[in-house]
Structure formats: C-alpha cells, structure tokens
Symmetry: C2
C-alpha cells in the first residue's frame, strides 16, 4: 500500500508524508509545481535518514501523484484551491478513494468556517468527483505542528466521516498505522461538525486567554462497555 498527497508541499502535507513514510508506507507528494514537490520530497527524505523501516517519499505533479496511488489519495490543499484542484483530478482519481483533509476556513478569518452550500468540504468534494469515488473526510483537527514534530506522538484523535463504509474502514485502518486513535464519526454530513472544530482550536491557539497552543481534541471516556454484547454474547472488538 502506498499513498498520494495532493498539495503535499504545504505544512499539513509535509507532516503527513513524514508520518506515513516513517510508518513504512511509500508516499508520492503532488504539487502544481513538480520542481517544488521533488525538492520537498528530498528534504523530507533527509529528515527520515537513519529511521529504520522508513519508506520512500517522491515528488510529482498532482495528477502524477494520483496516478501513482494504488488506492488512497489525500487532499491537503488550502480551501481556496479545493474546487479547482479537485476538478483537475476527476479523470485520474476514478477507482481510488479520496481522503479530504481540507477545512473551509472563512476568507481572512481562521477562527471561523464558511461552509460550502453542500454542507462541508467533504460533501462538496463528493459532489465534484462523482459517486464512483468514495470521499472520506479525516485529519481536519490535527495541527501541522503536531504532524511535523516526529519526536512526539500525534496529540489528538482523528474523527473520520464518509458515506461509503467500506472505503471509510480502509482509511481508518491506514490512519491507525500513524499510531493515533481513529474513530468512525458517521456519514459525510458529520464532516460539517468535524471540519468546524478546527477554527475553534485555532481560536484557542491564538487566544491570549489560553495558556497552550497547537491544541487537538480527544474523545474521553473512562467507562468501558460490558465485555460482551447482550444480544450475541460475542466479545466486542476494540475500536473496530
């Protein structure tokens, strides 16, 4: 299994490329400018020098990265570019899964979202790529700083939303390789909430009233369910 990261030269894309490659998953990062993605791929490869089991990071055009992906393409562009970039990928992405990590921050105000009429970026992406490409929203709330600080585990949980359950579970399985807790948050419409958590975190990060920065969210639940389902008597699978 490999992955492509469209818009992979931005801070979020770079951090994800590092995390996936360190976990042994080859990454192709795409950019509008191939020179830039090749240069970034070399820089990131240098950062992983000496990490046992690290996989390759290579640079390509956005379309080239999508073509290189066996199955999963992550979209990590700024929201302004979301629609245009996606339109350019429609032919090459057929048969693959799109993981949309884009947050529709309001122009000029990262402390608010301005949702597209479809309800969320995830739902807008699904409308653009068509029904044959499952779109899964994920990774919206992870700060680029957290992703790039390889000395620390990712400091938050990942909520995943999408209408195609099989595709969503492929993505959940992949993301768990990054050693993070990943939760199925339901259908694509849940992305309306999940994407909107990010500007709330940004608001806290930049507020003088709060002592911390690079915040994430965690699901917090001290109480365990009963060990067996009351109906089937089967043990519960952890996080499945």
């Amino acid at each position: 299994m490999n992955v492509a990261i469209v818009g992979g030269t931005g801070p979020q894309g770079r951090g994800l490329a590092l995390r996936f490659a360190r976990a042994g998953i080859p990454v192709t990062i795409g950019s509008r400018t191939v020179d830039r993605s090749i240069k970034t791929a070399l820089e990131l490869t240098d950062r992983l020098a000496g990490k046992h089991g690290a996989a390759s990071i290579t640079g390509a055009s956005n379309i080239g990265a999508v073509a290189a992906a066996e199955r999963i393409v992550l979209l990590a562009v700024p929201y302004e570019a979301h629609e245009d970039v996606l339109k350019g990928l429609i032919p090459s992405i057929q048969g693959k899964i799109l993981v949309d990590i884009v947050v529709p921050l309001a122009p000029g105000n990262p402390r608010a979202v301005l949702m597209p009429s479809e309800g969320s970026a995830t739902e807008a992406a699904q409308g653009l790529v068509g029904p044959d490409v499952p779109v899964v929203g994920a990774l919206h709330n992870v700060s680029a700083h957290a992703l790039n600080d390889l000395d620390q585990p990712i400091n938050c949980d990942v909520l995943v939303a999408g209408n195609d359950s099989a595709a969503k579970h492929e993505v959940i399985k992949l993301l768990r390789l990054l050693e993070v807790d990943v939760y199925d948050a339901g259908p694509a419409a849940s992305a309306r909430c999940i994407e909107a958590i990010t500007p709330i975190l940004i608001r806290l990060n930049i507020s003088k009233a709060v002592p911390f920065t690079h915040a994430g969210i965690r699901i917090w639940a001290p109480l365990q369910k009963a060990k067996t389902s009351s109906k089937s008597g089967e043990p519960l699978a952890r996080y499945e």
Copy 2:
C-alpha cells in the same frame, strides 16, 4: 448567585442541579408539572444529604424557576420542546442570561443532528428571546451519566459559544465552579459545531465497535504558549 434549570427534572437537569448545589449554588428546578419538580427537588436534596456546604434545591414551575433566578437560567428541555418552552418564558426571562444546553438531535435518530434554519439551537433561541436576553450555548457534550455520577469529576471539557462576551464570561465563571475546564469557543455560530459533536459521541457510545461509553471530548494541547505576551509583557492569565 443562584441558578434556575428549566426542564430540570430530566436526566441532564438533575445532574446539573446536583453539581451546582454541591458547589454551593442554590438551584431552582422548573418543570411543566410543579408536583414533579418539587418531588425531584426533594430526591436530589436527599442525595446531597451530609455534603458539607451544599446549597438548596427547590422545585417550581418553569416560569417560577426563571423568576427565582437572579441572573442565569439554564434550558435543559428535549429539543422537541425547545421552541414552545422558550416562547412561554419570553416575558419572565428579560434581564437575565439564557444558557442553552439543548442539542437538536434528529427525530428518531440520536446519531445525527437536524439543525434549525437559524444554524443551531443556540442561535434559534437568540431569535426567540430577542436581543435583550443574551443566549450562551454550553454543556452540550456532557453526558447525563457523567453529571449524575457525583463520585467522579465531569469527564470532559465544556465549550461555550455566544455573541455577548460579557454574558459569556459570567457563564464561564459559573461553570468553572463545577470543577471542569471551560473554553470560550467563540460566537453563537460556533454552536453549530459544538451541538453537532453530541450525536457523534452518542454514535460512539452505542457502537459495538467502540469499547467505552458516556464519552466526552477534551481539548488536548501539550505545548504551552510563551509565558509573557510579546506585546504587553504581561503574564497570561490561565483560561481567563
């Protein structure tokens, strides 16, 4: 300072009444049926017997509870009753602050929200009570189980949203007496996100794939800001 809890005989209202009274804040719980609120108030008072410093819990009609509140009225009714109950409170709530904890769960499906056209229950409430009553959305993501289990601290953080900053800070100060971390999540529009977190938590709580129940969310941020503001040189106040 005291508080009123409209719809205070439900599981959320009962738990909040217990937590506030235990913290020394007198509570009047309101119900459509005064007999029921008086009975509930006696039950809850019994549960606090022997707790040093606990304040009183009394029962009243919903309007009677609002009248008894010096300043802060919490609304804890099921979403089906949100509009009707609020309409009945319009005259008596003038000059007070409404804390709306109601989540617009989809009819028959607690794993989804069905937002009112105003965007959120908090914004709908503001439209109903008029501009002279500040509405603050809060406490949406705290499970009734967590509130009622007095042996444990509340297992999540509280995100607060509202357009009137002064009112919001009064509410934040009050809620911190419940020994919970409370964050200013921004304007009322942030409630579109915060209210919608609850059905995601409910989805996890009832999913056989997840080993825990009664989940909440926490803001998680290992990195501290610099100790002094770069502009003023003043130390940062914690969470203020």
